[in-house]
C-alpha cells in the first residue's frame, strides 16, 4: 500500500515499523511532526520532554535499559542536547538508539543556518541522509539495525525540504522487537575518566568497521549514465541534481555520509571525467573528498548561504539563468510575519511599547515578533531561554554603571520557560539581580503549532498530566510574593500599573501574563461571536488602533475597518481608541 507522506510522517512510520518502544523530544521546526505522528501509533510510548537535552537523555536511558529509542530535534536543538550526544557515542547502546536532526537551510523558522552534518564526525556518530519520504522510512529502519549491530547511536540528518515535502511511501508492518535484557556494565555505562579512556579506542575501532560496512551498504547508490560529469551528492540535493542533469550525468548518491566510503568514492571518481559535489550550505562532502586526495569541485560555484535549489545548480554549472518574470508596474507589499489578531502577547507589548527606558531581552517563540514594527519592543533574541539569562547580564551591567533609569525586562513564553528559562531565573535570584521576568503563559507551545508542554495539563499522547504551576514554581525559587504579579495581558490599565511597579522594584520581579493563544480551538469556539466594529461617524482616522499592528485592522480608501472574520474581540483597539469610536459586538469575552 502506498501513501503520500511528509518526511516527518515517514520517519514516524519508519520508527513504528522498526519496533521502536520509546520516543522523547522537544518540538522544533522542521522536526515537530515526527513525534506528533509517532504518538498516533499506540504501540510506541511517545512524550514531549521539556527540552532537547532531556529528550536525548530520556531516550539514552531507554536505550541503555534495552528499548529501541528515538529522539528528534531541530538543528539548534542538538546544540542543547550535545552533551549527552557526545558521551552516548562512547557508551553506545543496548536497544537501538536513533537521533533525528532536522536542519533548516534558508532559515524558514530558525535563528541560524548551522549545517549539523559536522556534528557526526565531531561526535563520531554514523550519519544518514534520506532524500525523500520513502527513504525516511527505510533509513529509519536501517538505522536501528546499524545501531544495534555496531553498538552506536545513529544520527539521521534531514533538512526542511525533506521533513516538509510529501512523496509516496510504501507501508510495511511493524516488527515487534523485544526489549533487550539489561545487564549492569559499569565499564560501558559509567563514563568516569578511567572508563571513558577505555571506551575511546573502541569508538575509533567502531568507525573503521562502520567505514567498511558503508563501502558496501545499500544506503549508497551508483547511477552510471553520461560519464563526462560525475556528481556526488546526498539528501535533498540529490533530487535537485537529478532535476537539472537527469541522465546527462552519473551519480554517486550517498545515503550514509559519515563515516564516508572512501574506496567507493575513489572508484566512482575514476569512472567519470569531472567530479562535482552538489551539497547545500557547507562544503562538508567536498572538504572530506578533497582530503582523500580526490580532485573535485562544487563550492567554487555553489553558495554557502541560503537554500539550494535546481535553479541555482543549473546556473552554476550550465550557465543557464532562471526565466525572467514578465515586468510588472505593480509591486507586492512586504508581508513579514505578525502576531495574530487577538494574540495575547500584543496586549502586553502594547502596554509598554512607548517606554524608552525598558530594554527588552526576548526569546524564541511567537513573541519574538515583539521585535517587529509596529510593536518594536524587543532589543535582543539569541536562543531558547536566553531572554532571562542574557537579561541578568544586561541588568547587572546597568547596576554596575549606576544606571537606575533603564530597566531590563525579559520576555519568555511558558514552553520556553520550562525549556531553559528556569535556570536563568535562578541566576537572577541567586545573584540578587533586579531583573523583570515576564512569563507570557499562553497555555501552549505556539510557534511550532500548539504542542502540549509541562504547563498545559496534557501529554503528547493525550493523557491528563500534572500541570506545573508557574506562579508556585517561581515563588518556590525565591521570588517574593509581592514581586509576583499575575495579569490578563489584554487589560491595558492593569498591565501599565504592574509594569510601573516592576520598573521601580529593586529585587527580582516576575510578571506572569495568563491568557490562552487565540488560535487554540477551544478559544476560537469561545470567541466565535466576539468582535468589535468601527463606528465610521465617530472615527477620526487617527490610526491609533492601526498602530497596535493587529492584522484584522486595515485602511481602505482613507477609512479604518476591522475584518470581521479575523477579529475575535480581544478589545485592545477598543481600549486604545481615544475617540470611543470602536463598538464591542456579540458576546464579548474580554473587557
Amino acid at each position: 500500500m502506498k501513501s503520500l507522506m511528509t518526511g516527518n510522517e515517514a520517519l514516524a512510520r519508519g520508527a513504528y515499523e522498526a519496533g521502536v518502544h520509546f520516543a522523547s523530544a522537544y518540538p522544533g521546526t522542521p522536526s515537530t511532526e515526527i513525534l506528533e505522528n509517532l504518538a498516533k501509533y499506540k504501540e510506541v510510548y511517545s512524550e514531549w520532554a521539556p527540552n532537547e537535552k532531556v529528550g536525548m537523555e530520556a531516550a539514552s536511558g531507554a536505550s541503555i535499559i534495552g528499548a529501541r529509542a528515538l529522539t528528534t530535534m531541530k538543528h539548534v536543538g542538538l546544540n542543547v542536547a550535545a552533551d549527552p550526544f557526545f558521551t552516548m557515542a562512547y557508551i553506545g547502546v543496548n536497544g537501538g538508539f536513533v537521533i533525528v536532526n532536522a536542519d533548516d537551510p534558508g532559515m524558514h523558522s530558525s535563528q541560524n543556518e548551522q549545517d549539523n552534518r559536522f556534528y557526526a564526525p565531531h561526535a563520531k556518530v554514523p550519519m544518514m541522509e534520506p532524500s525523500d519520504s520513502e527513504e525516511c522510512r527505510i533509513f529509519m529502519k536501517k538505522a536501528y539495525e546499524i545501531s544495534e549491530e555496531f553498538d552506536t547511536p545513529v544520527m539521521i540528518r534531514t533538512t526542511t525540504r525533506v521533513n516538509h515535502s510529501k512523496s509516496l511511501v510504501n507501508l510495511e508492518d511493524r516488527i515487534e522487537v523485544p526489549v533487550k535484557e539489561y545487564k549492569k556494565d559499569k565499564l560501558k555505562n559509567v563514563m568516569t575518566p578511567g572508563h571513558a579512556q577505555r571506551r575511546h579506542p573502541i569508538v575509533e575501532e567502531r568507525l573503521v568497521s562502520l567505514t567498511a560496512y558503508n563501502e558496501h551498504s545499500t544506503l549508497n547508490k551508483v547511477e552510471l549514465h553520461d560519464k563526462k560529469r560525475g556528481i556526488i551528492t546526498s539528501g535533498i540535493s540529490y533530487t535537485y541534481a537529478k532535476e537539472v542533469f537527469g541522465e546527462e550525468a552519473s551519480y554517486l548518491k550517498l545515503g550514509m555520509t559519515f563515516p564516508l566510503p572512501k574506496a567507493l568514492i575513489e572508484s566512482f571518481a575514476k569512472e567519470v571525467e569531472e567530479l562535482i559535489i552538489i551539497e547545500e550550505n557547507e562544503p562538508y562532502l567536498e572538504k572530506e573528498i578533497k582530503a582523500m586526495g580526490i580532485p573535485c569541485r562544487g563550492r567554487d560555484v555553489l553558495p554557502i548561504c541560503g537554500e539550494l535549489n535546481p535553479e541555482i545548480i543549473r546556473e552554476a554549472f550550465l550557465g543557464i539563468a532562471p526565466k525572467k518574470m514578465i515586468p510588472m508596474d505593480s509591486v507586492a507589499p512586504t508581508r513579514p510575519p505578525v502576531l495574530c489578531a487577538g494574540c495575547p502577547h500584543r496586549g502586553f507589548f502594547n502596554a509598554l511599547k512607548t517606554d524608552r527606558d525598558i530594554i527588552a531581552s526576548g526569546d524564541i517563540g511567537c513573541y519574538t515578533l515583539g521585535a517587529m514594527d509596529p510593536i518594536n519592543v524587543t532589543d535582543t533574541v539569541i536562543c531558547m531561554g536566553a531572554s532571562i539569562s542574557a537579561g541578568t547580564g544586561m541588568q547587572k551591567v546597568l547596576e554596575l554603571q549606576g544606571d537606575e533609569k533603564k530597566k531590563i525586562f525579559s520576555f519568555i513564553g511558558d514552553s520556553t520557560f520550562f525549556h531553559s528559562g528556569i535556570t536563568g531565573l535562578v541566576n537572577s535570584i541567586y545573584n540578587k539581580i533586579p531583573l523583570v521576568t515576564v512569563i507570557m503563559d499562553n497555555r501552549t507551545t505556539g510557534m511550532t503549532g500548539h504542542q502540549e508542554n509541562p504547563g498545559t495539563g496534557k501529554t503528547l499522547m493525550g493523557e491528563d498530566a500534572g500541570d506545573i504551576n508557574i506562579p508556585m514554581l517561581v515563588r518556590s525559587l525565591g521570588i517574593k510574593d509581592e514581586n509576583i504579579k499575575i495579569i490578563n495581558p489584554y487589560y491595558q490599565d492593569k498591565a501599565k500599573e504592574v509594569i510601573k511597579a516592576a520598573k521601580a522594584c529593586k529585587e527580582p520581579f516576575v510578571i506572569i501574563t495568563q491568557e490562552p493563544c487565540a488560535l487554540l480551538k477551544e478559544v476560537q469556539i469561545l470567541r466565535r461571536n466576539s468582535y468589535v466594529e468601527i463606528d465610521q461617524e465617530k472615527c477620526r482616522k487617527c490610526k491609533t488602533c492601526v498602530r497596535t499592528g493587529c492584522p484584522a485592522i486595515y485602511m481602505k480608501d482613507g477609512s479604518v475597518f476591522i475584518d470581521r472574520e479575523m477579529c475575535n474581540g480581544c478589545t485592545l483597539c477598543y481600549q486604545v481608541c481615544p475617540f470611543q469610536a470602536i463598538d464591542k459586538k456579540g458576546d464579548l469575552i474580554n473587557a
Partner: protein, 192 residues
C-alpha cells in the same frame, strides 16, 4: 487530463493553502501520478506570505517548482499572486481571489496596495481568473471554504473529474463540514 504539471498555491499564513494542496495531491495519486508536495511551517505561518507547491508527472525528482515553470498559481489573496508571479510560465494561468489582506506598512501609508494588479496581468497578456473566493464562501456559510472554491476552479482547469474530488472531500472533512465544502467545489467548477 494533462500528464504533468506544477501548481503553486500561495496566500497568507492561516488561509488553508495546505488543505487545498493535500486534496489535490490525493486526487492526483488516485489517478496514478507520481506527486511531490512541499510546504513551509513555523514562523512564516504567522500572517506572513506562504506557498505550497504541488508537482505531478510520471516521475518527479525535486519537490520545488522553479521560476517560470508553474502551470498555475492559485492565490488566496490578491497581492500574493503578484509576489509569486515570477514562478508562472508565460502560458500559465493565475487563479486569484480578489480578497485583500493589507499588511501594516500599507495601512500606515508607507507602502501601496496593488489594487489593479490582476488587471495589469491581463493587460500584459497573462491568463487570469479573478473572483472574491472569501465573499463567495461566506455566502455559502463558511469563509474557510474559500480554498475549496479555488481548488474547484483549478480542478476544472486541469480536467479533474468532479466526482473524484467529491469522494475525497467526504474522506477528508468531518461530516459537519462536508456539505459546505462540496458546495464550494461545485461553485468553483461552475466559475471556471
Amino acid at each position: 487530463m494533462r500528464n504533468e504539471g506544477n501548481i503553486l498555491f500561495v496566500g497568507v499564513g492561516g488561509q488553508g493553502t495546505i488543505s487545498a494542496s493535500n486534496l489535490l495531491s490525493a486526487a492526483l495519486i488516485e489517478l496514478g501520478f507520481d506527486v511531490k508536495m512541499s510546504e513551509v511551517h513555523g514562523m512564516a505561518q504567522r500572517g506572513g506570505s506562504v506557498s505550497t507547491q504541488v508537482r505531478f508527472g510520471k516521475e518527479v525528482h525535486s519537490p520545488l517548482i522553479e521560476k517560470g515553470k508553474a502551470d498555475y498559481i492559485v492565490s488566496f489573496e490578491k497581492s500574493e499572486s503578484l509576489r509569486w508571479l515570477g514562478f508562472l510560465k508565460e502560458e500559465g494561468k493565475v487563479i486569484s481571489s480578489l480578497h485583500e489582506i493589507r499588511p501594516y506598512l500599507v495601512n500606515v501609508g508607507k507602502e501601496a496596495y496593488p489594487e489593479e494588479t490582476l488587471k495589469e496581468m491581463t493587460e500584459k497578456g497573462l491568463s487570469v481568473i479573478g473572483l472574491n473566493a472569501q465573499e463567495k464562501a461566506i455566502e455559502l456559510g463558511n469563509a474557510k471554504a474559500a480554498n475549496m472554491i479555488l481548488l474547484g476552479i483549478l480542478a476544472k482547469e486541469l480536467g479533474l473529474e468532479k466526482a473524484l474530488l467529491e469522494k475525497l472531500i467526504k474522506q477528508y472533512f468531518k461530516p459537519a463540514l462536508q456539505e459546505v465544502n462540496l458546495h464550494a467545489v461545485d461553485t468553483g467548477y461552475a466559475l471556471a
